[in-house]
Protein backbone atom coordinates (compact mmCIF):
# COMPACT_ATOMS: atom_id res chain seq x y z
CA UNK A 1 0.00 0.00 0.00
CA UNK A 2 1.34 3.37 -0.85
CA UNK A 3 0.99 6.14 1.63
CA UNK A 4 1.23 9.61 0.15
CA UNK A 5 3.78 11.83 1.78
CA UNK A 6 2.47 14.29 4.29
CA UNK A 7 3.65 17.15 2.15
CA UNK A 8 1.22 16.19 -0.59
CA UNK A 9 -1.83 16.03 1.59
CA UNK A 10 -2.66 19.53 2.77
CA UNK A 11 -2.63 20.81 -0.76
CA UNK A 12 -5.07 18.17 -1.86
CA UNK A 13 -7.34 18.85 1.07
CA UNK A 14 -7.40 22.55 0.36
CA UNK A 15 -8.34 21.97 -3.21
CA UNK A 16 -11.18 19.69 -2.12
CA UNK A 17 -12.48 22.47 0.08
CA UNK A 18 -12.49 25.18 -2.51
CA UNK A 19 -14.59 23.41 -5.08
CA UNK A 20 -18.22 23.12 -4.15
CA UNK A 21 -19.28 20.12 -6.16
CA UNK A 22 -22.83 19.10 -6.78
CA UNK A 23 -23.61 15.42 -6.64
CA UNK A 24 -23.76 15.53 -10.44
CA UNK A 25 -20.19 16.62 -10.86
CA UNK A 26 -19.02 14.13 -8.30
CA UNK A 27 -20.78 11.39 -10.20
CA UNK A 28 -19.23 12.35 -13.49
CA UNK A 29 -15.80 12.42 -11.89
CA UNK A 30 -16.38 8.95 -10.46
CA UNK A 31 -17.67 7.70 -13.78
CA UNK A 32 -14.54 8.85 -15.54
CA UNK A 33 -12.49 6.63 -13.26
CA UNK A 34 -14.38 3.56 -14.49
CA UNK A 35 -12.30 2.58 -17.54
CA UNK A 36 -14.77 0.04 -18.85
CA UNK A 37 -17.66 2.48 -18.76
CA UNK A 38 -15.58 5.13 -20.52
CA UNK A 39 -14.69 2.58 -23.20
CA UNK A 40 -18.38 1.69 -23.55
CA UNK A 41 -19.29 5.33 -23.92
CA UNK A 42 -16.52 5.86 -26.48
CA UNK A 43 -17.76 2.95 -28.55
CA UNK A 44 -21.35 4.21 -28.51
CA UNK A 45 -20.19 7.67 -29.55
CA UNK A 46 -18.08 6.13 -32.32
CA UNK A 47 -21.04 4.06 -33.54
CA UNK A 48 -23.30 7.11 -33.69
CA UNK A 49 -20.68 9.13 -35.49
CA UNK A 50 -19.90 6.66 -38.25
CA UNK A 51 -23.52 5.64 -38.74
CA UNK A 52 -24.71 9.21 -39.15
CA UNK A 53 -21.73 10.66 -40.97
CA UNK A 54 -20.17 7.62 -42.66
CA UNK A 55 -22.74 7.13 -45.46
CA UNK A 56 -22.15 10.73 -46.60
CA UNK A 57 -18.71 9.70 -47.77
CA UNK A 58 -19.78 6.47 -49.41
CA UNK A 59 -20.05 6.36 -53.23
CA UNK A 60 -22.79 3.74 -52.82
CA UNK A 61 -25.09 5.74 -50.58
CA UNK A 62 -27.87 5.94 -53.16
CA UNK A 63 -28.46 2.19 -52.65
CA UNK A 64 -28.77 1.55 -56.37
CA UNK A 65 -29.32 -2.02 -57.43
CA UNK A 66 -26.57 -3.46 -59.56
CA UNK A 67 -27.26 -7.10 -60.38
CA UNK A 68 -23.98 -7.44 -62.22
CA UNK A 69 -22.17 -6.80 -58.98
CA UNK A 70 -24.08 -9.24 -56.74
CA UNK A 71 -22.56 -11.32 -53.94
CA UNK A 72 -19.05 -9.92 -54.26
CA UNK A 73 -16.82 -10.96 -51.37
CA UNK A 74 -15.03 -8.17 -49.46
CA UNK A 75 -12.50 -6.34 -51.59
CA UNK A 76 -10.75 -2.99 -51.77
CA UNK A 77 -13.73 -1.55 -53.62
CA UNK A 78 -16.38 -3.04 -51.37
CA UNK A 79 -14.83 -3.45 -47.93
CA UNK A 80 -17.56 -5.73 -46.71
CA UNK A 81 -18.61 -7.07 -50.10
CA UNK A 82 -22.00 -6.69 -51.75
CA UNK A 83 -25.38 -8.31 -51.25
CA UNK A 84 -27.90 -10.14 -53.37
CA UNK A 85 -28.79 -6.98 -55.26
CA UNK A 86 -25.22 -5.79 -55.62
CA UNK A 87 -25.43 -3.10 -52.98
CA UNK A 88 -22.41 -2.25 -50.84
CA UNK A 89 -22.78 -4.03 -47.46
CA UNK A 90 -20.71 -1.50 -45.49
CA UNK A 91 -22.85 1.40 -46.66
CA UNK A 92 -26.02 -0.50 -45.90
CA UNK A 93 -24.65 -1.47 -42.51
CA UNK A 94 -24.10 2.17 -41.62
CA UNK A 95 -27.47 3.23 -42.96
CA UNK A 96 -29.05 0.38 -41.01
CA UNK A 97 -27.21 1.58 -37.94
CA UNK A 98 -28.81 4.96 -38.37
CA UNK A 99 -32.25 3.39 -38.36
CA UNK A 100 -31.54 0.96 -35.53
CA UNK A 101 -30.02 3.61 -33.30
CA UNK A 102 -32.82 6.04 -34.09
CA UNK A 103 -35.44 3.42 -33.30
CA UNK A 104 -33.60 2.62 -30.07
CA UNK A 105 -33.33 6.26 -29.03
CA UNK A 106 -36.82 7.28 -30.08
CA UNK A 107 -38.63 4.37 -28.50
CA UNK A 108 -36.56 4.87 -25.37
CA UNK A 109 -37.49 8.56 -25.28
CA UNK A 110 -41.16 7.76 -25.78
CA UNK A 111 -41.34 4.98 -23.20
CA UNK A 112 -39.33 7.07 -20.74
CA UNK A 113 -41.70 10.00 -21.15
CA UNK A 114 -44.83 7.93 -20.75
CA UNK A 115 -43.34 5.88 -17.93
CA UNK A 116 -41.98 8.85 -16.01
CA UNK A 117 -45.14 10.92 -16.19
CA UNK A 118 -47.37 8.02 -15.20
CA UNK A 119 -44.90 6.85 -12.52
CA UNK A 120 -44.73 10.30 -10.96
CA UNK A 121 -48.48 10.75 -11.02
CA UNK A 122 -48.95 7.32 -9.41
CA UNK A 123 -46.26 7.74 -6.81
CA UNK A 124 -47.04 11.31 -5.85
CA UNK A 125 -50.81 11.35 -5.80
CA UNK A 126 -51.46 7.67 -5.10
CA UNK A 127 -55.09 6.71 -4.51
CA UNK A 128 -57.37 5.71 -7.39
CA UNK A 129 -55.15 7.11 -10.17
CA UNK A 130 -52.29 5.02 -8.87
CA UNK A 131 -54.47 1.91 -8.80
CA UNK A 132 -55.61 2.38 -12.42
CA UNK A 133 -52.15 3.09 -13.81
CA UNK A 134 -50.52 0.24 -11.96
CA UNK A 135 -53.17 -2.29 -12.93
CA UNK A 136 -52.71 -1.37 -16.60
CA UNK A 137 -48.97 -1.74 -16.14
CA UNK A 138 -49.47 -5.11 -14.46
CA UNK A 139 -51.64 -6.20 -17.36
CA UNK A 140 -48.93 -5.32 -19.88
CA UNK A 141 -46.41 -7.11 -17.67
CA UNK A 142 -48.35 -10.36 -17.58
CA UNK A 143 -48.18 -10.71 -21.38
CA UNK A 144 -44.69 -11.58 -22.59
CA UNK A 145 -43.31 -8.77 -24.75
CA UNK A 146 -42.05 -10.57 -27.80
CA UNK A 147 -45.30 -12.40 -28.67
CA UNK A 148 -47.22 -9.10 -28.49
CA UNK A 149 -44.69 -7.52 -30.78
CA UNK A 150 -45.09 -10.43 -33.21
CA UNK A 151 -48.85 -10.14 -33.15
CA UNK A 152 -48.66 -6.41 -33.72
CA UNK A 153 -46.08 -6.93 -36.47
CA UNK A 154 -48.25 -9.52 -38.14
CA UNK A 155 -51.22 -7.16 -37.94
CA UNK A 156 -49.18 -4.43 -39.63
CA UNK A 157 -48.31 -6.77 -42.46
CA UNK A 158 -51.92 -7.84 -42.72
CA UNK A 159 -53.17 -4.26 -42.94
CA UNK A 160 -50.54 -3.52 -45.60
CA UNK A 161 -49.08 -0.55 -43.86
CA UNK A 162 -46.58 1.27 -46.06
CA UNK A 163 -42.94 0.65 -45.16
CA UNK A 164 -42.29 4.32 -44.38
CA UNK A 165 -44.86 4.27 -41.60
CA UNK A 166 -43.83 0.90 -40.25
CA UNK A 167 -40.68 2.45 -38.82
CA UNK A 168 -42.72 4.79 -36.63
CA UNK A 169 -45.16 2.11 -35.69
CA UNK A 170 -42.30 -0.11 -34.55
CA UNK A 171 -41.07 2.68 -32.28
CA UNK A 172 -44.56 3.10 -30.87
CA UNK A 173 -44.92 -0.63 -30.29
CA UNK A 174 -41.63 -0.80 -28.47
CA UNK A 175 -42.60 2.06 -26.18
CA UNK A 176 -45.92 0.44 -25.35
CA UNK A 177 -43.99 -2.60 -24.19
CA UNK A 178 -41.37 -0.48 -22.44
CA UNK A 179 -43.23 2.07 -20.33
CA UNK A 180 -44.65 -0.13 -17.55
CA UNK A 181 -41.17 -1.05 -16.35
CA UNK A 182 -40.15 2.59 -16.24
CA UNK A 183 -43.37 3.64 -14.53
CA UNK A 184 -42.94 1.04 -11.81
CA UNK A 185 -39.37 2.05 -11.05
CA UNK A 186 -40.19 5.74 -11.01
CA UNK A 187 -43.21 5.12 -8.81
CA UNK A 188 -41.28 3.09 -6.27
CA UNK A 189 -38.57 5.74 -6.22
CA UNK A 190 -41.21 8.40 -5.62
CA UNK A 191 -42.68 6.39 -2.78
CA UNK A 192 -39.28 6.16 -1.06
CA UNK A 193 -38.50 9.82 -1.64
CA UNK A 194 -41.87 10.90 -0.25
CA UNK A 195 -40.94 9.33 3.07
CA UNK A 196 -37.61 11.15 3.30
CA UNK A 197 -37.49 13.68 6.04
CA UNK A 198 -36.66 16.48 3.65
CA UNK A 199 -40.00 15.93 1.94
CA UNK A 200 -41.73 16.18 5.31
CA UNK A 201 -39.70 19.32 5.84
CA UNK A 202 -41.08 20.62 2.54
CA UNK A 203 -44.59 19.96 3.84
CA UNK A 204 -43.93 21.81 7.06
CA UNK A 205 -42.39 24.73 5.17
CA UNK A 206 -45.66 24.93 3.25
CA UNK A 207 -44.10 24.54 -0.20
CA UNK A 208 -46.45 24.15 -3.15
CA UNK A 209 -46.95 20.85 -4.95
CA UNK A 210 -45.28 22.30 -8.00
CA UNK A 211 -42.09 23.13 -6.15
CA UNK A 212 -42.06 19.84 -4.29
CA UNK A 213 -42.38 17.97 -7.57
CA UNK A 214 -40.03 19.91 -9.77
CA UNK A 215 -37.40 21.14 -7.31
CA UNK A 216 -37.29 18.34 -4.78
CA UNK A 217 -38.54 15.12 -6.29
CA UNK A 218 -37.64 15.19 -9.98
CA UNK A 219 -33.95 15.99 -9.50
CA UNK A 220 -33.74 13.01 -7.20
CA UNK A 221 -35.49 10.70 -9.66
CA UNK A 222 -33.37 11.92 -12.54
CA UNK A 223 -30.25 9.82 -11.91
CA UNK A 224 -32.39 6.70 -11.90
CA UNK A 225 -34.04 7.82 -15.15
CA UNK A 226 -30.70 8.23 -16.86
CA UNK A 227 -29.67 4.74 -15.90
CA UNK A 228 -32.92 3.13 -17.08
CA UNK A 229 -32.87 5.19 -20.25
CA UNK A 230 -29.38 4.04 -21.17
CA UNK A 231 -30.09 0.42 -20.48
CA UNK A 232 -33.40 0.49 -22.31
CA UNK A 233 -31.82 1.73 -25.55
CA UNK A 234 -29.99 -1.58 -25.71
CA UNK A 235 -33.21 -3.48 -25.13
CA UNK A 236 -35.03 -1.53 -27.81
CA UNK A 237 -32.29 -2.17 -30.38
CA UNK A 238 -32.47 -5.88 -29.63
CA UNK A 239 -36.26 -6.05 -29.87
CA UNK A 240 -36.30 -4.10 -33.11
CA UNK A 241 -33.65 -6.43 -34.56
CA UNK A 242 -35.58 -9.51 -33.54
CA UNK A 243 -38.74 -8.12 -35.10
CA UNK A 244 -37.05 -7.11 -38.33
CA UNK A 245 -35.22 -10.41 -38.51
CA UNK A 246 -38.55 -12.17 -38.63
CA UNK A 247 -39.74 -9.75 -41.26
CA UNK A 248 -42.29 -8.18 -38.96
CA UNK A 249 -40.59 -4.92 -38.21
CA UNK A 250 -39.00 -2.50 -40.61
CA UNK A 251 -39.13 -3.96 -44.12
CA UNK A 252 -36.57 -3.81 -46.93
CA UNK A 253 -35.50 -1.83 -48.83
CA UNK A 254 -35.12 0.26 -45.65
CA UNK A 255 -32.14 -1.48 -44.03
CA UNK A 256 -31.88 -2.29 -40.33
CA UNK A 257 -29.40 -4.55 -38.59
CA UNK A 258 -32.19 -7.02 -37.94
CA UNK A 259 -33.39 -7.40 -41.50
CA UNK A 260 -29.81 -7.57 -42.78
CA UNK A 261 -29.13 -10.63 -40.62
CA UNK A 262 -32.15 -12.11 -42.33
CA UNK A 263 -29.59 -13.10 -44.98
CA UNK A 264 -28.44 -15.81 -42.59
CA UNK A 265 -31.90 -17.27 -43.05
CA UNK A 266 -30.80 -19.10 -46.09
CA UNK A 267 -28.28 -21.86 -45.95
CA UNK A 268 -26.14 -20.78 -48.87
CA UNK A 269 -25.74 -17.22 -47.58
CA UNK A 270 -25.10 -18.58 -44.09
CA UNK A 271 -22.37 -20.96 -45.20
CA UNK A 272 -20.82 -19.25 -48.18
CA UNK A 273 -21.33 -15.53 -47.67
CA UNK A 274 -20.61 -14.69 -44.02
CA UNK A 275 -19.90 -11.02 -44.96
CA UNK A 276 -23.65 -10.60 -45.31
CA UNK A 277 -24.63 -11.43 -41.74
CA UNK A 278 -21.54 -11.26 -39.56
CA UNK A 279 -21.13 -7.46 -39.72
CA UNK A 280 -24.70 -6.59 -38.71
CA UNK A 281 -24.61 -9.32 -36.07
CA UNK A 282 -21.41 -7.92 -34.63
CA UNK A 283 -22.77 -4.39 -34.81
CA UNK A 284 -25.79 -5.35 -32.71
CA UNK A 285 -23.71 -7.38 -30.30
CA UNK A 286 -21.06 -4.72 -29.72
CA UNK A 287 -23.45 -1.80 -29.53
CA UNK A 288 -25.72 -3.49 -27.02
CA UNK A 289 -22.77 -4.66 -24.92
CA UNK A 290 -21.25 -1.17 -24.98
CA UNK A 291 -24.56 0.37 -23.92
CA UNK A 292 -24.98 -2.12 -21.09
CA UNK A 293 -21.45 -1.63 -19.81
CA UNK A 294 -21.89 2.12 -19.87
CA UNK A 295 -25.29 1.79 -18.22
CA UNK A 296 -23.82 -0.37 -15.45
CA UNK A 297 -21.10 2.20 -14.90
CA UNK A 298 -23.74 4.91 -14.66
CA UNK A 299 -25.74 2.83 -12.23
CA UNK A 300 -22.70 2.43 -10.00
CA UNK A 301 -22.25 6.17 -9.64
CA UNK A 302 -25.88 7.27 -9.75
CA UNK A 303 -27.79 4.53 -8.00
CA UNK A 304 -29.65 6.10 -5.10
CA UNK A 305 -28.93 3.07 -2.92
CA UNK A 306 -25.27 3.96 -2.94
CA UNK A 307 -25.92 7.58 -2.16
CA UNK A 308 -27.91 7.10 1.01
CA UNK A 309 -24.91 7.76 3.21
CA UNK A 310 -24.58 11.27 1.91
Amino acid sequence: MSIPTTAGRPEKAIRALDVSDSLWRQSIRQLRKNKLAVAGFAFIAFMFLICFIGPLFSPYADGKINPANMHQPPSAKHWLGTDLLGRDVLTRLLQAGRISLTVGLASMALSMTIGTVLGIVSGYYRGVVDQIIMRVADLLFTIPGLPILFIMGALMSDWKIPTDYRLYLVMLMLSIIGWPGVARLVRSQMLTLREREYMQAADVLGLSDKRKLFRHLLPNVFPLLIVIATLSIGGAILSESALSFFGLGVMPPTPTWGNMIDAANNVIDFEKRPWLWIPPGLAIFLTVIAINIFGDGLRDVLDPKQNTSR
Binding site: I3, P4, T6, R9, K12, A13, A16
Partner: protein, 326 residues
Protein backbone atom coordinates in the same frame (compact mmCIF):
# COMPACT_ATOMS: atom_id res chain seq x y z
CA UNK B 1 -2.98 -8.31 37.83
CA UNK B 2 -1.51 -9.71 34.67
CA UNK B 3 -2.20 -8.03 31.44
CA UNK B 4 -4.37 -10.04 29.10
CA UNK B 5 -3.80 -8.14 25.92
CA UNK B 6 -1.28 -5.51 25.05
CA UNK B 7 -1.62 -3.17 22.11
CA UNK B 8 1.62 -1.52 21.09
CA UNK B 9 1.88 1.30 18.56
CA UNK B 10 -1.14 0.13 16.60
CA UNK B 11 -1.88 2.11 13.43
CA UNK B 12 -4.74 1.47 11.04
CA UNK B 13 -5.06 3.59 7.94
CA UNK B 14 -7.81 3.88 5.38
CA UNK B 15 -7.39 4.93 1.79
CA UNK B 16 -10.08 7.29 0.56
CA UNK B 17 -10.32 9.00 -2.79
CA UNK B 18 -8.95 12.19 -1.28
CA UNK B 19 -6.04 10.74 0.66
CA UNK B 20 -5.02 8.56 3.57
CA UNK B 21 -7.10 8.63 6.72
CA UNK B 22 -5.18 7.74 9.85
CA UNK B 23 -8.15 6.20 11.62
CA UNK B 24 -6.01 4.79 14.39
CA UNK B 25 -2.67 6.48 14.76
CA UNK B 26 0.04 4.89 16.86
CA UNK B 27 -1.89 3.94 19.98
CA UNK B 28 -0.78 1.70 22.84
CA UNK B 29 -2.70 0.37 25.80
CA UNK B 30 -3.32 -2.82 27.68
CA UNK B 31 -6.19 -4.62 29.28
CA UNK B 32 -5.63 -6.63 32.43
CA UNK B 33 -7.40 -9.80 33.42
CA UNK B 34 -10.85 -9.15 34.80
CA UNK B 35 -10.66 -5.44 34.03
CA UNK B 36 -13.18 -3.30 32.20
CA UNK B 37 -11.54 -0.77 29.95
CA UNK B 38 -13.73 1.85 28.34
CA UNK B 39 -12.68 3.59 25.18
CA UNK B 40 -14.58 6.83 24.90
CA UNK B 41 -14.66 9.36 22.11
CA UNK B 42 -16.86 10.98 19.51
CA UNK B 43 -17.73 9.57 16.11
CA UNK B 44 -14.71 9.20 13.89
CA UNK B 45 -12.17 9.15 16.71
CA UNK B 46 -11.10 5.62 15.82
CA UNK B 47 -12.55 3.77 18.78
CA UNK B 48 -14.45 1.21 16.69
CA UNK B 49 -11.56 0.77 14.27
CA UNK B 50 -9.36 -0.11 17.24
CA UNK B 51 -11.76 -2.93 18.09
CA UNK B 52 -11.89 -4.07 14.48
CA UNK B 53 -8.11 -4.09 14.30
CA UNK B 54 -7.86 -6.29 17.38
CA UNK B 55 -10.41 -8.69 15.93
CA UNK B 56 -8.71 -8.76 12.53
CA UNK B 57 -11.90 -7.45 10.96
CA UNK B 58 -10.56 -4.34 9.25
CA UNK B 59 -12.16 -4.11 5.87
CA UNK B 60 -9.39 -4.66 3.31
CA UNK B 61 -8.38 -3.36 0.85
CA UNK B 62 -9.72 0.07 1.90
CA UNK B 63 -8.30 -0.17 5.36
CA UNK B 64 -5.19 -1.83 6.66
CA UNK B 65 -3.37 -2.27 9.93
CA UNK B 66 -0.09 -0.69 8.91
CA UNK B 67 1.94 -1.16 12.04
CA UNK B 68 2.13 -2.21 15.63
CA UNK B 69 1.71 -5.27 17.69
CA UNK B 70 -1.21 -6.86 19.49
CA UNK B 71 0.12 -9.24 22.12
CA UNK B 72 -2.41 -11.75 23.37
CA UNK B 73 -0.83 -14.43 25.51
CA UNK B 74 2.37 -15.38 23.70
CA UNK B 75 1.04 -14.48 20.27
CA UNK B 76 1.00 -11.35 18.15
CA UNK B 77 -2.50 -11.24 16.69
CA UNK B 78 -1.24 -9.32 13.69
CA UNK B 79 1.17 -12.10 12.76
CA UNK B 80 -0.87 -15.25 13.16
CA UNK B 81 -2.65 -17.11 10.35
CA UNK B 82 -6.28 -16.46 9.40
CA UNK B 83 -7.21 -19.91 10.68
CA UNK B 84 -5.62 -19.27 14.06
CA UNK B 85 -7.28 -15.86 14.28
CA UNK B 86 -10.62 -17.47 13.58
CA UNK B 87 -10.09 -19.88 16.46
CA UNK B 88 -9.18 -17.04 18.81
CA UNK B 89 -12.25 -15.09 17.72
CA UNK B 90 -14.48 -17.98 18.63
CA UNK B 91 -12.85 -19.01 21.88
CA UNK B 92 -10.84 -16.27 23.50
CA UNK B 93 -12.08 -12.94 22.21
CA UNK B 94 -15.64 -12.20 21.21
CA UNK B 95 -17.38 -9.05 20.13
CA UNK B 96 -20.85 -7.56 20.25
CA UNK B 97 -21.99 -4.69 18.08
CA UNK B 98 -24.40 -1.80 18.30
CA UNK B 99 -27.00 -3.41 16.05
CA UNK B 100 -27.79 -6.91 17.29
CA UNK B 101 -30.33 -7.40 14.51
CA UNK B 102 -27.71 -7.30 11.78
CA UNK B 103 -25.42 -9.75 13.56
CA UNK B 104 -28.07 -12.45 13.84
CA UNK B 105 -29.33 -14.60 10.99
CA UNK B 106 -33.04 -13.83 10.53
CA UNK B 107 -34.04 -17.31 9.39
CA UNK B 108 -32.40 -19.36 12.15
CA UNK B 109 -33.87 -19.72 15.64
CA UNK B 110 -32.19 -18.02 18.57
CA UNK B 111 -31.48 -21.36 20.23
CA UNK B 112 -29.74 -22.72 17.16
CA UNK B 113 -27.61 -19.59 16.86
CA UNK B 114 -26.43 -19.93 20.46
CA UNK B 115 -25.78 -23.65 19.99
CA UNK B 116 -23.71 -23.38 16.85
CA UNK B 117 -20.52 -21.88 18.30
CA UNK B 118 -20.80 -24.24 21.25
CA UNK B 119 -20.88 -27.25 18.95
CA UNK B 120 -18.13 -25.85 16.77
CA UNK B 121 -15.64 -24.57 19.33
CA UNK B 122 -16.46 -26.53 22.47
CA UNK B 123 -17.25 -29.77 20.64
CA UNK B 124 -20.49 -30.24 22.56
CA UNK B 125 -23.11 -32.57 21.13
CA UNK B 126 -26.53 -31.30 20.24
CA UNK B 127 -28.17 -32.16 23.53
CA UNK B 128 -25.43 -30.65 25.66
CA UNK B 129 -25.37 -27.55 23.51
CA UNK B 130 -29.10 -27.07 23.88
CA UNK B 131 -28.93 -27.43 27.64
CA UNK B 132 -26.06 -24.94 27.74
CA UNK B 133 -27.97 -22.54 25.47
CA UNK B 134 -30.90 -22.52 27.87
CA UNK B 135 -28.53 -21.87 30.76
CA UNK B 136 -26.97 -18.98 28.90
CA UNK B 137 -30.33 -17.42 28.08
CA UNK B 138 -31.23 -17.50 31.75
CA UNK B 139 -27.81 -16.19 32.65
CA UNK B 140 -28.41 -13.01 30.68
CA UNK B 141 -31.61 -12.42 32.59
CA UNK B 142 -34.26 -13.65 30.19
CA UNK B 143 -36.97 -15.90 31.56
CA UNK B 144 -38.95 -18.42 29.48
CA UNK B 145 -35.68 -19.71 28.03
CA UNK B 146 -37.20 -22.54 26.02
CA UNK B 147 -39.71 -20.29 24.35
CA UNK B 148 -37.02 -17.75 23.49
CA UNK B 149 -34.73 -20.46 22.11
CA UNK B 150 -37.46 -21.48 19.69
CA UNK B 151 -38.15 -17.98 18.40
CA UNK B 152 -36.64 -16.04 15.52
CA UNK B 153 -34.75 -12.74 15.83
CA UNK B 154 -37.58 -10.57 14.49
CA UNK B 155 -39.87 -11.80 17.26
CA UNK B 156 -37.68 -10.25 19.94
CA UNK B 157 -37.05 -6.65 20.92
CA UNK B 158 -33.73 -4.84 20.55
CA UNK B 159 -32.89 -5.13 24.22
CA UNK B 160 -33.58 -8.88 24.24
CA UNK B 161 -31.51 -9.41 21.11
CA UNK B 162 -28.61 -7.51 22.62
CA UNK B 163 -28.74 -9.80 25.62
CA UNK B 164 -28.86 -12.81 23.32
CA UNK B 165 -25.75 -11.42 21.61
CA UNK B 166 -24.08 -11.24 25.00
CA UNK B 167 -25.12 -14.84 25.64
CA UNK B 168 -23.55 -15.93 22.36
CA UNK B 169 -20.45 -13.86 23.02
CA UNK B 170 -19.85 -15.34 26.46
CA UNK B 171 -20.91 -18.87 25.51
CA UNK B 172 -17.38 -20.14 24.91
CA UNK B 173 -16.01 -18.46 28.01
CA UNK B 174 -13.92 -15.78 26.30
CA UNK B 175 -11.12 -14.04 28.14
CA UNK B 176 -11.98 -10.75 26.48
CA UNK B 177 -15.33 -9.36 25.42
CA UNK B 178 -15.29 -6.37 23.12
CA UNK B 179 -18.56 -4.45 23.23
CA UNK B 180 -18.85 -1.78 20.55
CA UNK B 181 -21.54 0.73 21.60
CA UNK B 182 -23.75 -2.11 22.87
CA UNK B 183 -26.46 0.11 24.30
CA UNK B 184 -26.47 3.10 21.98
CA UNK B 185 -29.51 1.89 20.04
CA UNK B 186 -31.48 1.05 23.19
CA UNK B 187 -33.84 2.96 25.45
CA UNK B 188 -32.53 4.01 28.86
CA UNK B 189 -34.56 1.52 30.87
CA UNK B 190 -33.41 -1.26 28.54
CA UNK B 191 -29.85 0.05 28.58
CA UNK B 192 -29.89 -0.33 32.36
CA UNK B 193 -30.86 -3.99 31.94
CA UNK B 194 -28.16 -4.71 29.39
CA UNK B 195 -25.42 -3.02 31.41
CA UNK B 196 -26.55 -5.01 34.43
CA UNK B 197 -26.28 -8.20 32.37
CA UNK B 198 -22.80 -7.29 31.17
CA UNK B 199 -21.64 -6.59 34.71
CA UNK B 200 -23.05 -9.85 36.04
CA UNK B 201 -21.57 -12.01 33.31
CA UNK B 202 -18.23 -10.40 33.91
CA UNK B 203 -18.36 -11.11 37.63
CA UNK B 204 -19.26 -14.75 37.03
CA UNK B 205 -16.46 -15.52 34.62
CA UNK B 206 -13.73 -13.02 35.45
CA UNK B 207 -13.43 -12.00 31.82
CA UNK B 208 -12.13 -8.63 30.71
CA UNK B 209 -14.34 -6.19 28.85
CA UNK B 210 -13.32 -3.58 26.36
CA UNK B 211 -16.34 -1.30 26.19
CA UNK B 212 -16.54 1.26 23.44
CA UNK B 213 -18.96 4.10 24.00
CA UNK B 214 -19.53 7.81 23.58
CA UNK B 215 -21.62 8.06 26.74
CA UNK B 216 -19.63 9.25 29.75
CA UNK B 217 -22.43 8.11 32.03
CA UNK B 218 -22.01 4.54 30.84
CA UNK B 219 -18.25 4.88 31.25
CA UNK B 220 -18.54 6.01 34.87
CA UNK B 221 -20.86 3.17 35.60
CA UNK B 222 -18.88 0.36 33.98
CA UNK B 223 -15.21 1.20 33.69
CA UNK B 224 -12.20 0.42 35.82
CA UNK B 225 -9.87 2.16 33.40
CA UNK B 226 -10.72 4.79 30.80
CA UNK B 227 -9.07 5.70 27.51
CA UNK B 228 -10.12 8.91 25.78
CA UNK B 229 -9.55 9.07 22.02
CA UNK B 230 -9.61 12.05 19.70
CA UNK B 231 -8.91 12.01 15.96
CA UNK B 232 -7.22 8.60 16.02
CA UNK B 233 -5.01 9.30 19.03
CA UNK B 234 -5.24 8.56 22.72
CA UNK B 235 -5.33 11.95 24.43
CA UNK B 236 -5.81 10.79 28.00
CA UNK B 237 -6.08 7.61 30.01
CA UNK B 238 -6.30 6.66 33.63
CA UNK B 239 -8.28 4.95 36.37
CA UNK B 240 -11.92 5.85 36.22
CA UNK B 241 -12.08 7.79 39.49
CA UNK B 242 -8.86 9.65 38.86
CA UNK B 243 -9.93 10.56 35.35
CA UNK B 244 -13.42 11.75 36.24
CA UNK B 245 -12.33 13.63 39.32
CA UNK B 246 -9.14 15.14 37.98
CA UNK B 247 -9.37 15.23 34.20
CA UNK B 248 -6.23 16.77 32.74
CA UNK B 249 -6.66 17.06 29.00
CA UNK B 250 -8.78 20.05 27.95
CA UNK B 251 -10.77 17.77 25.66
CA UNK B 252 -11.72 15.39 28.46
CA UNK B 253 -12.59 18.34 30.66
CA UNK B 254 -14.72 19.81 27.92
CA UNK B 255 -16.54 16.54 27.33
CA UNK B 256 -17.30 16.16 31.01
CA UNK B 257 -18.55 19.70 31.30
CA UNK B 258 -20.68 19.68 28.17
CA UNK B 259 -22.94 16.85 29.29
CA UNK B 260 -26.00 18.06 31.15
CA UNK B 261 -26.40 16.21 34.44
CA UNK B 262 -29.70 15.83 36.23
CA UNK B 263 -29.84 17.84 39.42
CA UNK B 264 -26.88 19.99 38.43
CA UNK B 265 -28.57 22.36 36.06
CA UNK B 266 -26.69 25.47 35.04
CA UNK B 267 -28.15 28.42 33.13
CA UNK B 268 -25.79 27.79 30.25
CA UNK B 269 -24.17 24.57 29.18
CA UNK B 270 -20.44 24.53 28.55
CA UNK B 271 -19.65 23.63 24.96
CA UNK B 272 -16.42 22.87 23.15
CA UNK B 273 -16.27 25.29 20.22
CA UNK B 274 -15.73 24.17 16.63
CA UNK B 275 -15.80 20.65 15.37
CA UNK B 276 -13.66 17.58 14.99
CA UNK B 277 -11.04 18.25 12.29
CA UNK B 278 -11.35 16.44 8.99
CA UNK B 279 -9.04 13.42 9.08
CA UNK B 280 -7.54 14.61 5.80
CA UNK B 281 -6.49 17.99 7.13
CA UNK B 282 -4.46 16.89 10.12
CA UNK B 283 -1.05 18.50 10.47
CA UNK B 284 1.83 18.17 12.88
CA UNK B 285 0.03 20.26 15.49
CA UNK B 286 -1.95 19.01 18.44
CA UNK B 287 -5.19 17.89 16.76
CA UNK B 288 -7.26 19.62 19.41
CA UNK B 289 -5.48 22.98 19.36
CA UNK B 290 -8.07 24.97 17.41
CA UNK B 291 -10.86 23.99 19.79
CA UNK B 292 -8.80 24.27 22.92
CA UNK B 293 -9.23 27.06 25.45
CA UNK B 294 -5.74 26.65 26.87
CA UNK B 295 -3.93 26.54 23.54
CA UNK B 296 -0.33 27.78 23.76
CA UNK B 297 2.02 28.49 20.83
CA UNK B 298 3.72 25.11 20.78
CA UNK B 299 0.36 23.36 20.38
CA UNK B 300 0.14 24.70 16.86
CA UNK B 301 3.55 23.41 15.90
CA UNK B 302 4.13 20.06 17.48
CA UNK B 303 2.13 17.16 18.70
CA UNK B 304 2.36 16.38 22.42
CA UNK B 305 3.31 12.88 23.53
CA UNK B 306 1.24 10.79 25.90
CA UNK B 307 3.05 11.01 29.23
CA UNK B 308 2.37 10.54 32.90
CA UNK B 309 0.76 13.51 34.62
CA UNK B 310 -0.05 11.76 37.89
CA UNK B 311 0.37 8.23 39.17
CA UNK B 312 -1.27 5.93 36.63
CA UNK B 313 -2.72 8.87 34.73
CA UNK B 314 -1.51 9.78 31.26
CA UNK B 315 -2.34 12.75 29.08
CA UNK B 316 -1.07 14.05 25.78
CA UNK B 317 -1.02 17.78 26.33
CA UNK B 318 1.69 20.43 26.26
CA UNK B 319 0.29 22.04 29.40
CA UNK B 320 1.80 19.20 31.39
CA UNK B 321 5.06 18.91 29.50
CA UNK B 322 8.15 20.55 30.88
CA UNK B 323 9.44 20.94 27.36
CA UNK B 324 6.64 23.34 26.67
CA UNK B 325 8.32 26.06 28.61
CA UNK B 326 11.58 25.62 26.81
Amino acid sequence: MNSLIEINNLSTYFESGAGTVKAVDDISFRIREGETVCIVGESGCGKSITAMSIMGLVDEPHGKVVGGQIRFGDKDLLKISKEEMRRIRGNDISIIFQEPMSSLNPVITIGRQIMEPLMLHQKLNKKQAYARALELIELVGISRAEQIAASYPHQLSGGMLQRIMIAIAISCGPKLLIADEPTTALDVTIQAQVLETLRQSKEQSNMSIMLITHDLGVVAEMADYVIVMYAGKIVEEGDVEELFERPKHPYTRGLLKSKPIIGQRAEQLYSIPGQVPSPLELTESCYFHDRCESCIPICRIRQPKLSEVAAGHLAACWLYEEEAEA
